[in-house]
Symmetry: C2
Subunit: 236 residues, 2 copies
């Protein structure tokens, strides 16, 4: 069965439903999403091979998923570092930061310099709510993602890509093609333009809710929280 | 390396530290703990073998872990049902219940009758903060756990066992020996009296904090959240 994709609008509506009718807290959803991202990276490249992971976190929920992933990566034996330049005052983000500080995970301020020292980069800058405008300080960060030789795992969307229409024709993200992509809950239409290994994580939606929003729950194995879904298995 | 155990007092102090200095919310910790419990059950017996899991939830955090586990079991393909007779007004518990209702997980009121229909039972009644007194309506529930032929996975402690001194000499838990036990964070001293398969889950503490509280982080594999730890590998 080919998986259907989830538009940006439907993803936002689903998120709102999960946190209202669904009674989930953002803490719960972000914990599960971030854990699945970290497990995805472990599947791609274990810590013995790529110990130094640079996690680039944007100002919204995608960045929060990155903060959670960084913590789990630390427990998995990686040596993560975090770039988190636009810190919101939301108390959850402050707590996620403290959790990382307790584990002595370093926060870096120069992304381009840090990228040169990294074995893998996690792109958790923008997710499905990306508005189309790359604001400072992210243009140079995204330009680095587009030009680096270090492998990149993008969380939910390659940052700067339009959720429906894919790669930007111009701007800092021109030519940006991450090594791998982990879609959260369901692939977004942008996967049509993606070339690389593709996974789905964030296992918190039942079939009934998926049907309501017009997407499919992928065939997770056993109790695993992330699954590789080749793009041939996505309905584009 | 033999794992050291964690006393009830130290477990309570660790919990308090995680939620103060550690900046964790109960939502986060319970989500990770409950997920590891569900994954433990999957390792013990997949849904094709034991689809009907009866989850017995107590009034405290152990019960909350059970509610989270029941939700994940549903996503894993089991058909869980939940016995949760003493519902607190804590908003998290109300939300965990709603999350299960959204998945159409049934709540049962007659534990002994439900146990006869179950393929596996999850004992999430009492955890490390058990005071030694089994209050109503749990005496008959624990008597059923002690006498049933259905396999039982106990969460953190076989309910009614003393955390330090193990099985009760008398009372409803007399002779209660679950099939398997999943210790959360670290085994408690009661494992000395336990005979069965033993796991550790709840992977959210780093080595430094473990050292401060005098226990050891077990050798989790890769990004897994639960690991089997034979009792020969626990320092008793």
């Amino acid at each position: 069965m080919a998986l259907r994709t989830l538009t940006a609008k439907s993803a936002a509506a689903l998120d709102a439903e999960l946190m209202s009718t669904g009674a989930f807290s953002l803490d719960q959803l972000m914990e599960l999403a971030g854990l699945s991202v970290a497990q995805c990276l472990h599947t791609l490249s274990p810590p013995a091979k790529t110990p130094r992971v640079l996690v680039a976190c944007g100002p919204g929920n995608n960045g929060g998923d990155g903060l959670v992933a960084a913590r789990h990566l630390c427990h998995f034996g990686y040596r993560p570092s975090v770039y988190f330049p636009k810190q919101t005052k939301h108390e959850l983000y402050a707590r996620l930061r403290t959790q990382l500080e307790q584990l002595k995970v370093p926060f870096v301020t120069d992304f381009t310099a840090a990228a040169k020292e990294a074995d893998y980069i996690l792109d958790a800058i923008f997710g499905f709510s990306f508005s189309g405008e790359v604001r400072e300080p992210f243009p140079s960060v995204i330009a680095t993602l587009a030009s680096t030789k270090v492998p990149v795992l993008a969380v939910d969307a390659p940052s700067s890509w339009n959720i429906e229409s894919g790669p930007p024709g111009d701007g800092p993200g021109k030519g940006y093609m991450p090594t791998a992509l982990v879609s959260l809950t369901a692939p977004k239409p942008l996967v049509k333009w993606f070339r690389g290994r593709h996974f789905v994580g964030g296992r918190f939606v039942g079939r009934e809710v998926a049907e309501k929003y017009g997407f499919d729950v992928p065939a997770y194995k056993g109790g695993e929280q992330v699954v590789e879904v080749p793009l041939d298995d996505v309905k584009l």
